[in-house]
Subunit: 356 residues, 2 copies
């Protein structure tokens, strides 16, 4: 059952990525109006579909292997390194990756208005709202454990799926067909079923305060995700590596502040990279790559695809863990996986345009 | 968790009803060709829909209350009466109900070719195949417990849902849309999820023989159900009460033989109705009425509706048992109910004719 713990850390990447985004002073409708081109960045439908598939597959595989690395590192021993320095390293690595990608693009295409690194206050200033949302959500996370225990929290986190769907509809004004809504509720039910264990029923004893906080957290998280998509898609022609670069620069700044507050003494005494092992470095690389994959999915696909991708990754992790760590799969896991599979099928056949 | 036990006995009525049906010496295609009128028994679409809804609702409520009566009688004490005499009484009561209904029809409409009680060998001789199928299935039921324990058997019984869908498609040649197939798999997954308990994982240790037997049993049961529908629908204009009367006459004969084999001494020494209590009489009435409801659903709706109806009854029973017996509903129950609800929704919006 240990694979369930993985899920807890699955969304770390999104959080750290979204924390640094800001959308200061912009009316929401302005962000949305210019977004959602039928084909992204001037790509035609076929290559857009191909790109979408590749980034989705990458996100699924990276999220899945990320979770496996976490289990692996836990088995290898306790975290000896400071988490804040690891987070900073992830942001720095993502920044480096973005710069390398940009350098190659500049070499082949030259510097254009869309891929130049320099930016305006107007462009960069649009990130604080998701950051504030994540800040509130992370604060709530400490308080919710007064009302909800860990297995129940694990279950309640699946409310994120529903909130993402609802806010995707409301904020991005994208329509889901009736079948796709049904599929989305099934995805939530299927993921929860797959994670069921004997302690899951604790969630039914959750007091009203716990429910309210869980729903608020799900809304904050969903809102931040959807808002990030709106930001990234606001200027479809803008090179994603530039958008990422600025996101990750803010990420480095935020994490540097976190290091100073939480781990200043430890870093000063033991050094920045104290306790790093080979597996720590693997995890940092993996987190960096999956962070980039999340951005790519936001750019070339959408939040719905991201939710499906991370749900499938959760199932994939469990299956791989059977071979790697000798985990046992429960009947609930098989039932949940069946429901998730049908949800994916229904989502694909239920496209609104296909019906009209 | 006790409500789960109820499910075991839920299908008793179908079995006892179908046991007595025969379809001797008729080629299968002949049965099917004449069946499936667009509106049954000369009814127009609106009253056909009304009739379908009423019999489905009746089956759901009766099946649900049947399960509750079983729990009630178990709480009141052990079964003191002989089960074979109770089964015989059910068949006799159904026969009486059919005759009363027929008498009223004769009074208002007169005796016609379709509602006359007298029958031909050709008409009556078509019942042994489902009877044989049920006989084999009931025999297998004793052997399967060598490989499968009770909670696992409970889970495996949900394979009936899938087998009914598959055989309904093959034997009755009725098409289900892609969405309806997805809905049917969801119904099976949802019902199983709703029934999950800590012992359910035993099913994963089922040996190959157990799986094979469970699948064969599901196919036998599904085949018998679908074949019964084909028999009843073979002559749509034939009055259902006459069809029922002949079914139940055979039921009485079969159960009389069972009494002679199993309980002859007990009945001779203690009397036919020994150990009958008020609740026993209630159960017999309830079984008789739900048996008639099953026949009506087969006549005016189909096996798919019957499967949905009994699945909803299972959920309904659990909810009612919370109030009546203080049962606790598990998280798995809520998740399963959600999946079943969406399955019903998808089945209704996924009608093949609506898409074409």
């Amino acid at each position: 059952m240990e694979y369930r713990k993985i899920k807890d850390q699955e969304n770390y990447e999104d959080a750290s990525q979204n924390d640094i985004e800001s959308l200061h002073g912009k009316p929401l409708s302005g962000v949305v109006t210019n977004s959602m081109p039928s084909s992204v960045g001037g790509l035609n439908n076929k290559s857009s579909w191909k790109l979408k598939s590749i980034v989705t597959l990458a996100l699924t595989l990276l999220t899945s292997s990320q979770a496996i690395l976490i289990v692996w590192s836990k088995r290898a021993g306790k975290y000896e390194y400071s988490v804040t320095t690891a987070n900073f390293s992830v942001e720095a690595l993502k920044c480096a990756f973005s710069l390398v990608a940009l350098a190659r693009i500049w070499k082949s295409q030259g510097v254009t208005e869309d891929n130049k690194l320099s930016t305006s206050f107007d462009e960069v200033s649009v990130y604080p709202i998701p950051a504030i949302l994540y800040l509130i959500k992370n604060l709530l996370q400490y308080y919710i454990f007064a009302y909800v225990d860990a297995p129940a929290y694990q279950i309640l986190k699946n409310l994120n799926i529903i909130s993402t769907g609802v806010l995707y509809r409301i904020i991005l004004k994208k329509k889901l067909s009736e079948i796709q809504w049904a599929a989305f509720i099934l995805l939530c039910a299927g993921c929860t079923t797959a994670q069921l264990n004997p302690s899951s029923d604790h969630v039914l004893q959750t007091p009203l305060q716990g429910w309210v906080m869980a729903i608020v957290m799900a809304l904050l998280s969903g809102f931040a995700g959807v808002y990030t998509e709106a930001i990234i898609k606001k200027r479809p022609s803008r090179n994603i590596n530039v958008q990422n670069f600025w996101l990750y620069i803010f990420g480095m700044v935020f994490n540097l502040i976190a290091i100073c507050i939480q781990d200043y003494d430890e870093v000063m005494n033991k050094g920045f990279f104290h306790g790093y092992s080979f597996i720590t470095v693997c995890m940092i690389f993996n987190h960096a790559l999956s962070g980039i994959a999340v951005s790519m999915v936001m750019k070339y696909a959408n939040n719905i695809v991201k939710v499906y991708s991370t749900s499938v990754a959760m199932l994939l992790t469990a299956v791989v863990s059977v071979f790697l760590f000798g985990f046992h799969l429960s009947l609930a896991f098989f039932l949940g996986s069946t429901v998730v599979s049908i949800s994916i099928y229904l989502h694909s056949i239920g496209k609104p345009q296909a019906q009209k």
